[in-house]
C-alpha cells in the first residue's frame, strides 16, 4: 500500500499531492479516491481539484488563501483518506482495427514488448482496462494496465499528427487519441470512437474508473463502422451498477 504522499508545488496557484512515482493500481485508486474526497469538502480558496494517474492537483486562488493554509487543509484530509474499492460502474466495448494502415507502429511496439504482433493484438483486446485518468486533451482516457512486458518507453521524437481515435501505447497504458497535438506514444491501432463530443450535452464520454475493452475488427469492417454516423464508432456502453 503506498503511503506518505508528497505535497509539491504545481504553479503559484496549485499543490500536487503525489501518491507514487511509479504507476500502480493501488496508487491510482488512492488518487481517484482522494480526488473524490477533495471535491466533496469545502476548503476556503480552493478553486479546482483534478486527478491524474497517481496524483491530485488542488488549485487555489492566492488572493483568497495561502499555500500554507491549503497544505494544512490537505494534510488534514489525507489523514482520513481511504482508497475506493468499488468495481467499475460501466463497461465500454469499442471496435478497433489493427491492419498495417491503421496500426503503423504495432509491430515496433510488439517487438519492444518482446511478443509477436498477433500476441500483442490478443493482449490488447483480451484485457479489460480501466480509465485510470482523463486528460491531456478533453475527455481523453488513460487506460491501464497492460501486463508488465508492455512497460515500453515513449519514443524520443514526437509524432506530429495522429488521426482522432488512434489507439496508442506507452508505459503499460493505452490511450484513445482525442487531440490534434504531437505525441511521443506509438500508434498501434485505430478506433472510430470520439472521446469528446463538444456539440452534445454530455461532451465527455468517460469517467475515471470506467472499464474499457477493445473488440478487434477487420479493416473493411472498421471502414463500415467509421462510415456509420449513427453510433460513436460502434461503441457499446453497458451500465454495471
Amino acid at each position: 500500500m503506498p503511503t506518505d504522499p508528497e505535497l509539491l508545488p504545481l504553479g503559484i496557484d496549485g499543490i500536487l499531492v503525489r501518491f507514487a512515482q511509479v504507476l500502480s493500481e493501488a496508487a491510482n485508486a488512492q488518487a481517484l479516491a482522494f480526488k473524490d474526497q477533495m471535491q466533496n469538502v469545502q476548503i476556503d480558496g480552493v478553486t479546482e481539484v483534478a486527478s491524474s494517474l497517481t496524483s491530485v492537483r488542488i488549485g487555489f486562488d492566492p488572493a483568497q488563501t495561502t499555500r500554507a493554509a491549503v497544505m494544512q487543509a490537505i494534510r488534514g484530509q489525507l489523514g482520513s483518506a481511504g482508497a475506493s474499492t468499488d468495481g467499475p460502474r460501466r463497461i465500454w466495448r469499442i471496435p478497433a482495427a489493427f491492419g498495417p494502415d491503421y496500426a503503423p507502429q504495432l509491430a515496433e511496439a510488439a517487438t519492444l514488448a518482446g511478443i509477436s504482433r498477433d500476441r500483442a493484438i490478443a493482449e490488447i483486446t483480451g484485457q479489460i482496462t480501466r480509465v485510470i485518468a482523463i486528460g491531456f486533451a478533453p475527455g481523453q482516457p488513460y487506460l491501464g494496465m497492460l501486463p508488465d512486458h508492455w512497460d515500453i518507453p515513449r519514443q524520443s521524437n514526437l509524432t506530429d499528427h495522429l488521426p482522432r481515435g488512434a489507439l496508442i501505447c506507452a508505459v503499460r497504458q493505452l490511450i484513445i487519441w482525442g487531440a490534434d497535438a504531437p505525441t511521443g506514444w506509438r500508434h498501434i491501432g485505430q478506433t472510430a470512437f470520439r472521446v469528446y463530443l463538444p456539440e452534445t450535452g454530455t461532451p465527455f464520454a468517460f469517467e475515471p474508473g470506467d472499464a474499457v475493452q477493445f473488440t478487434p475488427v477487420s479493416d473493411s469492417a472498421f471502414q463500415a463502422i467509421k462510415a456509420d454516423s449513427s453510433t460513436n464508432g460502434g461503441a457499446r456502453c453497458e451500465v454495471l451498477r
Binding site: 508528497e6 509539491l8 508545488p9 504545481l10 504553479g11 503559484i12 496557484d13 496549485g14 500536487l16 503525489r18 507514487a20 512515482q21 511509479v22 504507476l23 480526488k35 478553486t47 479546482e48 481539484v49 483534478a50 486527478s51 491524474s52 494517474l53 497517481t54 496524483s55 492537483r57 488549485g59 486562488d61 492566492p62 488572493a63 495561502t66 499555500r67 485518468a133 482523463i134 486528460g135 491531456f136 486533451a137 478533453p138 475527455g139 481523453q140 488513460y142 512497460d151 518507453p153 515513449r154 519514443q155 524520443s156 521524437n157 514526437l158 506507452a170 508505459v171 497504458q173 482525442g178 487531440a179 490534434d180 497535438a181 511521443g184 469528446y196 463538444p198 461532451p203 465527455f204
Partner: protein, 339 residues
C-alpha cells in the same frame, strides 16, 4: 446587433477571452488568450470588463469593418495598422466607423496582437467562455468573410486614453519556480539550464513554444518512462531529445515528459510574445519567492487603469486636420445686435 466584418484574415486569428478555468478534471485546459495581460491592458484603455472577448492575431492581422461605430484598441504585439490609410498607434483608444476599413499587418515586435472592441465580441459562449480552443475543437480559426457580432459601444464619446505597454516583446530573463519534477533533474543539469542562452524557435503555437540552444541537452535518467502527470501553462517540458518546450494557454492537461520547472504567470506573457529568435534565459525562484509574485486580476486591472493617461491629440497625428471645423464659435462680434 452590430457585426464586425472580416474582409481578410491572417492564418492565426481566433476569438479569445480569459478562457475556461475549472475543467482540468475533464481534460480541458483553461485556454484563452496566449497573452492574457493584453486583455487587461485593453480593458484598462476601453473601460470594459477584462473577460470580454477579443480577436487574437498570431503574427499577422487582417482587415475589418463594422456596421456600427465603436471604440477599439490594439494591444499585445506591435502590428502596423491603419484606417483607410491613416496610420494608427496601438495602446490608444481608437474609433472605427461604418464605411471605414481597419487594416492590421504583420507583427513588428511580439507575436500575439489583440483587437479589442469596447463592447466585446459576443459570439455564443461554450462552457461559459467564448475562447477558441483549437486542440479541444471549440471554435475555429477566423477566415475571410466571417462576421462576428459585437456589443454596441456603451460609451462611444468617453475621453480617449493611452497606456504604455508593459515591455515584454523582446525576450529576456524569465523566472521559473520549482515544480513536482524539478527534483528529478540532477543539480548539474539544473545549473546548466540556468546558464544556457536559449532562443525562441520558429516552432510554436498556442499550446507551447520550443526553445533552441547550443550545447548538451537536459535529460533525466528514465525520463521517457516517468508517470504522466498534471501540467499547467508555464511548465517547461523536456522532450526525450532534451529539447525544452514552454507550455502556453492551450496546453494539454496531462503530460509525460519531465518538467524542469514552471514559468511564473507574471513572466508568461514575455514567453508568449517572444518572437522567433528572441533570446531567453531562465532563473529559478524559490516557491516562497514565486508565491509573492502572485497578483490578483483585480489588482492588476486597477494598476493598469491608474496608468492610463488621457489622450491629447497632437495635430501632427491628425491626417485629415483640414477637414475639421477648427474655428467654430468665432463670430463677428455684433451678431446679436443685427436685426
Amino acid at each position: 446587433m452590430p457585426f464586425l466584418n472580416i474582409h481578410s484574415a491572417g492564418p492565426g486569428l481566433t476569438v479569445q477571452d480569459l478562457g475556461r478555468p475549472g475543467w482540468k478534471a475533464q481534460g480541458l485546459s483553461t485556454g484563452g488568450a496566449a497573452d492574457r495581460l493584453a486583455l487587461f491592458e485593453a480593458s484598462a484603455i476601453l473601460g470594459g470588463a477584462p473577460d470580454q472577448a477579443v480577436i487574437e492575431m498570431m503574427g499577422f492581422g487582417g482587415s475589418f469593418s463594422c456596421d456600427a461605430p465603436t471604440r477599439f484598441t490594439l494591444t499585445g504585439a506591435q502590428m502596423q495598422a491603419d484606417i483607410d490609410g491613416v496610420r494608427l498607434t496601438p495602446y490608444k483608444t481608437q474609433i472605427l466607423r461604418p464605411g471605414e476599413k481597419l487594416t492590421i499587418g504583420g507583427a513588428k515586435s511580439g507575436v500575439y496582437g489583440y483587437l479589442a472592441l469596447a463592447g466585446g465580441i459576443t459570439t455564443p459562449p461554450i462552457l461559459q467562455s467564448r475562447a477558441t480552443h483549437l486542440t479541444a475543437g471549440i471554435g475555429k480559426r477566423l477566415e475571410s468573410g466571417d462576421r462576428l457580432p459585437f456589443a454596441t459601444d456603451p460609451d462611444l464619446l468617453s475621453p480617449p486614453c493611452k497606456l504604455t505597454p508593459q515591455d515584454r516583446f523582446g525576450g529576456g530573463q524569465i523566472r521559473v519556480m520549482p515544480g513536482p519534477q524539478t527534483g528529478f533533474f540532477a543539480t548539474d543539469t539544473l545549473a546548466d539550464f540556468t546558464q544556457t542562452d536559449f532562443t525562441r524557435s520558429a516552432r510554436g503555437n498556442r499550446q507551447g513554444i520550443r526553445l533552441d540552444y547550443d550545447g548538451n541537452g537536459f535529460p533525466i535518467s528514465g525520463g521517457l518512462s516517468i508517470v504522466s502527470d498534471l501540467i499547467v501553462p508555464g511548465d517547461i517540458q523536456m522532450t526525450g531529445d532534451g529539447i525544452p518546450y514552454v507550455l502556453l494557454a492551450e496546453c494539454q492537461t496531462i503530460g509525460g515528459y519531465p518538467r524542469i520547472g514552471s514559468v511564473i504567470p507574471a513572466d508568461l506573457p514575455t514567453i508568449a510574445q517572444a518572437g522567433p529568435g528572441a533570446a531567453l534565459q531562465f532563473t529559478f525562484l524559490s516557491v516562497e519567492e514565486a508565491d509573492v509574485t502572485a497578483q490578483s486580476d483585480h489588482v492588476l486591472l486597477a494598476q493598469l487603469r491608474s496608468n492610463c493617461v488621457p489622450m491629447i491629440r497632437d495635430p501632427h497625428d491628425i491626417g485629415d486636420l483640414l477637414s475639421y471645423q477648427l474655428i467654430s464659435g468665432v463670430t463677428s462680434g455684433d451678431d446679436l445686435e443685427r436685426p
